[in-house]
Amino acid sequence: MASTDPRLTIKPIVDAWMALNVPTKNDGFTPTTYISLWEGGPERMKYLFYGLNFDFIMTFGNPETRSMRPIQDVPVHYQMTYPITVTTVDKWLGGALVSTGMWLQYKVTWEIRKGIEFQAQSVPPGLPAYTLRVISERTTHKRVGGVDVWETVHKVEYELGE
């Protein structure tokens, strides 16, 4: 288990990639606006989408953990899987749909995969040493508070280097 929270590694990796490869709106050239933050912040979802006018929200949640490689029943390694949740809604401007929530999910998924692949392994002497990979992605749709919300949970496995 890492002595520092792996989100301190994972979030900057995704942020750095996304800042240089911002997904576009429906027109194919206008960049979307987004915010990246840890899960459970004090802001309300509608405030982020309609008050601050972000097109998508990336949140970094708490991990699922399981022990591996038991030696005489003593686990010696904990494998952690971190969820990155991307939330989108349909965004309208002047009566026209400028960003389709479901479509934007695919564009963000593409960039998250590329960003994680790009930094899949730490480069020495960078610490902590790690290996990252996306192990599953699942998109769901729900209607919350009168809004159609699409959520994709990207599960990212974080392997601490030894």
């Binding site: 929270d5 989100r7 301190l8 979030k11 915010i35 990246s36 933050l37 840890w38 912040g41 004090p42 802001e43 309300r44």
Partner: protein
């Protein structure tokens, strides 16, 4: 004839309204800081629901109130009732406004006891 807005101001009870504001973002969470500047408002209160919820950390009494006021509260604002010395309630609803006259509105909110 007394109308409801002035009626709440005259016969309501004093409460402290802590209006939630969001400040600058802080690393590493990128969450904004929260501020709660306080002011005094007048409210009328009716307790609506109390129930016991069991959690692994112990039982919690969940108590909700309806409150009427002319102040424009927002969800997640805090109300200390009675003012300064009372319990803290968190506003849970957007509020249902009732128009009276001119610029006078009064609103009904739902709030839950937090501490």
């Amino acid at each position: 004839m007394a109308t409801i807005g002035p009626f709440i101001q005259t016969y309501g009870e004093q409460a402290t309204w802590q209006n939630r504001g969001l400040g600058g973002r802080v690393a590493p969470t990128n969450w904004p800081t929260e501020t709660y500047p306080a002011s005094t408002i007048y409210i009328m209160v009716k307790e609506t629901q109390t129930r016991e919820v069991d959690t692994p950390a112990g039982r919690v009494t969940e108590k909700r109130i309806n409150l009427w006021t002319t102040a424009a509260l927002s969800p997640q604002d805090q109300i200390i009732y009675p003012a300064l010395v009372g319990n803290t309630y968190e506003v849970e609803s957007e509020g249902t406004p009732f128009y009276l006259f001119g610029t006078v509105w009064y609103r009904r909110f739902v709030a839950v006891l937090t501490a």
